[in-house]
Chain length 229, copies 2
Amino acid sequence: MTTMPGAVSGDRALPLRERKKLRTRRALADTALRLFLDRGFHETTLDELVEEVEVSKRTFFRMFQSKEDVAMAAELELWDAYVAEVAARELHGPVLDFLKQALVAAVTGLGEEWDRSFLATRGLIARTPVLWDRSLLHSVTVQSRLVAELETKLGVDSRQDVRVRLLGELSLAAWRCAVKNWISGRGYDGPSPMEKLGRWKGPGGSKVLIHRVEEAFDAVPDSLTLAAP
Amino acid sequence: MTTMPGAVSGDRALPLRERKKLRTRRALADTALRLFLDRGFHETTLDELVEEVEVSKRTFFRMFQSKEDVAMAAELELWDAYVAEVAARELHGPVLDFLKQALVAAVTGLGEEWDRSFLATRGLIARTPVLWDRSLLHSVTVQSRLVAELETKLGVDSRQDVRVRLLGELSLAAWRCAVKNWISGRGYDGPSPMEKLGRWKGPGGSKVLIHRVEEAFDAVPDSLTLAAP
DNA sequence: TGTAATCTGCCACTGAGGGGCAGTTTAAGT
DNA sequence: ACTTAAACTGCCCCTCAGTGGCAGATTACA
């Protein structure tokens, strides 16, 4: 959002070659999402995509690891932000709280533009099993990155201490629950009271998402005690 | 091949067509594992596999959804057994305990022959990233099957109650931790005291695996309280 | 300005996975 | 036992994701 026509919100200090790279990456992600939403994921071939963006297929695969990944660029952004946030913050107090706050901060930090394309992405994922699987996989994979950070911060070895790894898993489990509830589109608490205000049609923005995240994290302790008569 | 040398432990009561199906399925899984361990996953093509088993590639894809799946037949067996176990048992008391016991029962029920091929499978998975991803994905996917069972048993709606879904996730998270520790091959408690007895070389059998599972489940409550100073 | 490193485009190739059709085996009816 | 309907298998052909190689362009650097 500087005044340039095709300017990306990229740090102007970058080696220029990197900026170009980022620009095409951005272009690929955007048009990919547009095409996939329009014609469907399987109905769109990579050749059509790279045709539209005017890049070679070879270049595409230098930017993204797979056809699935380019559809979920927004989600990948989030994971990078999350891990970075965990790495940057200093850790004191309950680790689960720490993980919650870091995730909330990551979502907040990505801004307004992000949550629109993330919502679109989730819509696409919801009706494309292959993407659903990939998304799931990514979320599970972040766990190991998280654990690596936590290990250095806590000074424990995760191979000795199961708890650290479990916390990583828990954090992502909470995230998945949060997103599910977000998409299902209920209002703030309980089934859709807020929708009447017309402020949130559908899932709502990242404000609501953040609320869902906190909700899910806070529900973790309770779930352990859940019992049948 | 009617009076079959390689008779499977198949229920003789099955519709006969099903038995044939099971036999080729079994043959595919076994030789696939053998070939993959021998030459490597990517180095073995499907054409070579179906050549060896003497089936058409078309038939292969009627048995397994992908090349990855045939390598992890043992794991898929476990997940079916787990879900079946959860469905069969009646639920009372703490749900997390219930899930633990059902998983233990599932592993136990699969028997001696299974844990050998499962161990081999895990070895293959460990050195094949693609398979690692798939395995991870399967474990996460089981969660939704689990939750579906729990919902009917508890009579709650998982869309209202986050706790049920979290329990599903927790149970699989514990499983993944358990397997990691099992593979890492330490002895019963702490770093390898039992190995000196020569009773468990490497990870050890399903006895040890079960111990690891219980260990991981029991560590869940503790992990929540984990805190940094 | 020259030069070395890096990136891109193009081309050809492998291999997974699926669709269609014809032939065969099994289950069910009489 | 014989026939009919349904399900299964084999075979050939196709699409398309993803890779490696090489030549040409671009950028960083001296």
